[in-house]
Subunit: 118 residues, 4 copies
């Protein structure tokens, strides 16, 4: 992909890929949490997030897994998608430099951490 | 559907259906706008919103149409879903009382109006 | 307030007020959950939601209370605003008909219920 | 700030700062767009976003400016906050390495670009 925004950046190709990976993970958390979800539409939401993130610049690959383990049932048989439920593996590539990033809830931190895997 | 929250309400069945319809339309606007979208994932997003709203209480039927007419192209070949693009027809039913509601961008108001059709 | 959208509705004034109340509560849940929050900016968020909802049509009054009781601390000293934390009292008035609505997490339902108080 | 998540990362301090800057900008876009806004609560929203982003890890400084120039008025005297309106300057610092990032709508791209300034 040719980058129409190249001239606005002052960084290496790897740094650019890292920046873009951060953008996507921050976006996923704040866009999709809140969606009504239960086992019946879980896979559908996973696929829709994947397709939608792939439209964003420099995304090579993405895998979204949602786990509802440990969620208490509600009286209305669905929950709201929360950061704890999300496990996202993301590969971003800029000019041949690929980075792998992840969002995953970590019990030790009680926090949905976004980090660089490689 | 038996209503586990019945005792909290002081209103007629039709009023309840109207209240629930309002909730769903307000939720749709504020949950899904912002999603990356172009023609390639438009239908996918429509279906995912429909499935997800159907999990919410007392939704009988929902049809979501997204139109990207009049949207200016961006340098990155996608847009963010906005209220102007959304056309939603919603049927909510409470204890046999059905109401039909709609969200639709109206040029005359320059506003994505949520209204009761019947 | 004169209603520029009057002709699109087919309902009583009270039904309209109820519909508008539903819209606002659905909107609040799906717009503001996800915001980074701790005790230091809790009141600030409450006030900002109140001001922002007051811009929407036919809102007479709104009071937002956020409670972080029962939230587990994270390693980064803030949480994400969730539906469980929100307690909203809302008065909507249409053509002299006022309705009072509320959003409140109810333990008995494990659900942030939106309901009509009067 | 001591970093409780240090062991999950495999990158330089500068790369970490860049990643964190991307997260914050992606988050801002997808969390706050959609909020009801007009001139009366514009400054309030700017301050609330600033305070709220400052809770997130490694944020040194943030300035949010919202411009409603070029927005068409609606029949209800407010708009929804959109990416086009946002101008954000962000300084993130990790272990002494500071990076400056920005989100700004660029007419040439018809896109709210997130980029690294230095």
């Amino acid at each position: 992909m040719i980058d129409p925004s190249k001239k606005y950046f002052h960084c290496t190709d790897r740094e650019r890929a890292i920046f873009e990976a951060g953008i996507k993970l921050g976006a996923i958390f704040h866009q999709y949490t809140g969606m009504p979800i239960n086992e019946s539409n879980k896979e559908d939401i996973e696929k829709t997030i994947e397709k939608s993130v792939k439209l964003q610049p420099f995304v090579n690959n993405i895998r979204v897994k949602i786990s509802m383990k440990g969620q208490n049932g509600t009286s209305f048989n669905y929950n709201s998608l929360s950061g704890e439920m999300l496990d996202v593996e993301l590969a971003v590539s800029y000019n041949g430099q690929e980075v792998k990033a992840r969002m995953q809830y970590l019990q030790a931190l009680n926090y949905p951490l976004m980090y660089l895997e490689e």
